[in-house]
């Protein structure tokens, strides 16, 4: 027995020295605290980092504080005997800040009473660094998602929008819990062709062009791409859709297309006029050769007429190209008509057509853009003249310009007893590049006339029947202001 009793203390001493080595070499800061929060022991790492501070208050040693920390885990362990893990920031004797994970454990005496608390601080500086890195990259990803200059949504398996970026929310509203067709197109049911659905079904990327409507109802042209988001097993978990606003590109394209149409229309018109010029020149030349003065005269008229047409075509093109704003001033319509009346009558007599002008005495002065109104009147009158020239059915042709005042309007009528138009032609005459004159029209004249009247805040209507003739009724406000719409004026 004695032997045993002898060996046990010896073994106990070995154990103690062995465990003391373990205590000393534990890869963390270990300290033991009494009930007054004084440190009564510490391992080597503790001493190296915080100095020989046995007997000092732990809050002073670890944090340089003068009083106990709020939520002190040592205090809590004294109270309930449990571990109270927490994250803390310690400051070493060299002033280095060390983020640590703290665990506490009670040390009891033989009676089971907690007489001290051991604290273990594990350096989590590396973990913290990685966490911060992760958070930064997460924030960066969120920022990318939020700020990317297009509309992005992510749809879950229930086909409901789970996420949307800032640009989407600002343009289309808060979408969470809504369907894309509701947000993008204000529809109550899925679109007939749904690229999102196709991506769900096939797991493949789809690209498509859509017309979208913002929360304010504004129309947007968009290029949309859908792509699957897969989980670790490769199953489609969500679908992401990215829509790029291409409205401006489309507008530019349509402007280019309209320039293309203009060029086509002009070259078409010029070809017609060249034929007319060719014809005139041929007739003048052959008239001289055959000594036929009538033919020379007819040919020369043809040359003049076609040169005049080229001139007015060029003016139309310039007007169209500039799209000028109105320059409103006092217009004396009588004086304005007098300016072009002689030229018009000459052209009309060449076409065996009578010009009738009825200006009411009280026509007077009104506010408008004289240059634009002259262009508009000439366009309408020359159209009338063409309609008479092309009409072979009637013997006597006339065109008529009538103007009278009916406050707040100036009423202008341009009438002829020429060819007249069928319904289809009537409906299209104010469209850009529509011409009923075959090769000699550019489809600009009436389009521009309509625009001029519209800019004055007036209206233009046409009354026509094939064989009977045509009448244009123009209503211009007596005091035009630029950009007034007729509706505004009426209401």
């Amino acid at each position: 027995m004695e032997k045993v009793q002898l060996t046990v203390p010896e073994q106990k001493g070995e154990f103690e020295s062995q465990y003391h080595r373990y205590w000393e070499e534990m890869p963390c800061y270990l300290s033991v605290h009494d009930q007054d929060f004084r440190i009564i022991d510490g391992n080597r790492r503790f001493r190296e980092a915080f100095g020989e501070r046995i007997g000092q208050y732990c809050y002073k040693v670890y944090k340089g504080r003068e009083e106990i920390c709020p939520n002190c885990p040592v205090e809590a362990t004294f109270a309930d005997g449990q571990n109270h893990p927490s994250e803390q920031l310690l400051t070493t004797k060299d002033g280095l800040e060390v983020p640590v994970m703290v665990h506490t454990t009670p040390i009891t005496d033989d009676s089971g009473e907690v007489v001290a608390v051991m604290e273990m601080h594990t350096d989590i500086g590396e973990v913290k660094r990685l966490q911060a890195l992760l958070q930064r990259s997460q924030e960066r990803l969120v920022q990318l998602f939020e700020e990317v200059p297009c509309f992005i949504t992510v749809q879950g398996p229930d086909r409901v929008i789970q996420h949307a970026n800032r640009r989407f929310r600002e343009t289309f509203g808060d979408p969470v819990g809504e369907n894309c067709f509701k947000m993008y197109k204000h529809r109550d049911e899925q679109c007939l062709v749904c690229p999102m659905q196709q991506t769900w079904d096939t797991g493949e990327t789809r690209e498509h062009e859509e017309v979208l409507f913002t929360k304010e109802g504004e129309k947007l042209d968009a290029l949309c791409t859908t792509a699957p988001l897969r989980n670790a097993d490769g199953e489609v978990e969500a679908v992401i859709e990215m829509c790029i606003d291409i409205t401006q590109i489309r507008e530019l394209q349509s402007q280019l297309a309209s320039i293309g149409l203009l060029v086509g229309s002009i070259s078409h018109g010029i070809k017609g006029l060249l034929t007319g010029l060719d014809g005139g020149i041929y007739m003048v030349n052959s008239g001289f050769a055959k000594e036929k003065p009538e033919r020379i005269e007819k040919g020369w008229e043809m040359v003049q007429r076609n040169v005049e047409r080229i001139r007015s075509m060029v003016l139309d093109i310039l007007y169209y190209a500039k799209d000028r704003e109105l320059i409103v001033e006092d217009v004396d319509l009588e004086a304005l008509v007098a300016e072009f009346r002689e030229g018009l009558e000459k052209k009309a007599s060449d076409a065996d057509t009578e010009v009738r002008v009825n200006l009411a005495e009280d026509t007077g002065i009104f506010a408008g853009d004289p240059q634009a109104i002259r262009a508009m009147l000439l366009n309408l009158l020359e159209n009338s003249l063409d309609a008479c020239r092309m009409d072979k059915e009637k013997g006597d042709h006339w065109i008529r310009l009538g103007v009278r005042r009916e406050a707040p309007w100036l009423l202008i009528e341009v009438e002829d007893n020429g060819l007249g138009m069928d319904q289809e032609t009537r409906e299209k005459i104010f469209s850009l590049f529509f011409s009923s004159k075959g090769i000699k029209g550019t489809g600009l004249g009436l389009f521009i006339s309509n625009k001029i009247v519209d800019k004055h805040g007036g209206t233009i209507e046409v009354d026509s029947e094939p064989g009977r003739g045509t009448r244009f009724n123009v209503k211009l406000p007596l005091d035009a202001k630029p950009s007034i719409q007729p509706e505004d004026e009426v209401s």
């Binding site: 034929t275 005139g280 007739m283 075959g438 090769i439």
Partner: protein, 136 residues
């Protein structure tokens, strides 16, 4: 007009072009009549009995190609040489084909001339078409 003159009917709505082509072809020894509409052209054909017809592709109301189809379908005129004149010459070949393609069995125009009409080409086309037929 002499009995031996070859007869050309011009279907064209632009009076300048009608005048021009009429004077020119008459100078070249053709007998010419002109119509500004398809319907007028049809009315004139029985009396005038044209040997070749020049049709403007873009006639008001009814297009020149419609006139061509209706004449091709008329046994009396189906073999009449027809020349289409157009300002839109680049599009014409395709347009003619796609338009006429809709009418099965309808033969297209025997010649196509672009505007502005080249006088030498016009004479060449008429000569080729009329040399194949004897005066009647």
């Amino acid at each position: 007009m002499n009995e031996t003159d070859r007869r050309v009917l011009i279907v064209e709505d632009d009076p300048d072009i009608v005048d021009y082509l009429s004077f020119f072809l008459e100078d070249e020894g053709y007998a010419v009549e002109a119509a500004s509409r398809c319907s007028t052209a049809r009315e004139m054909m029985d009396d005038f009995r044209p040997e070749v017809i020049l049709i403007d592709a873009l006639l008001p109301g009814k297009s020149g190609l419609e006139l061509l189809v209706s004449l091709r379908r008329d046994p009396q005129w189906s073999d009449l040489p027809m020349v289409v004149v157009t300002g839109n010459d680049t599009l014409l070949e395709d347009d003619c084909q796609s338009y006429l393609g809709a009418f099965e069995g309808v033969r297209g125009p025997d010649g196509v001339l672009g505007k502005p009409v080249d006088r030498e080409s016009l004479l060449a086309v008429l000569k080729t078409l009329l040399d194949d037929t004897k005066p009647n």
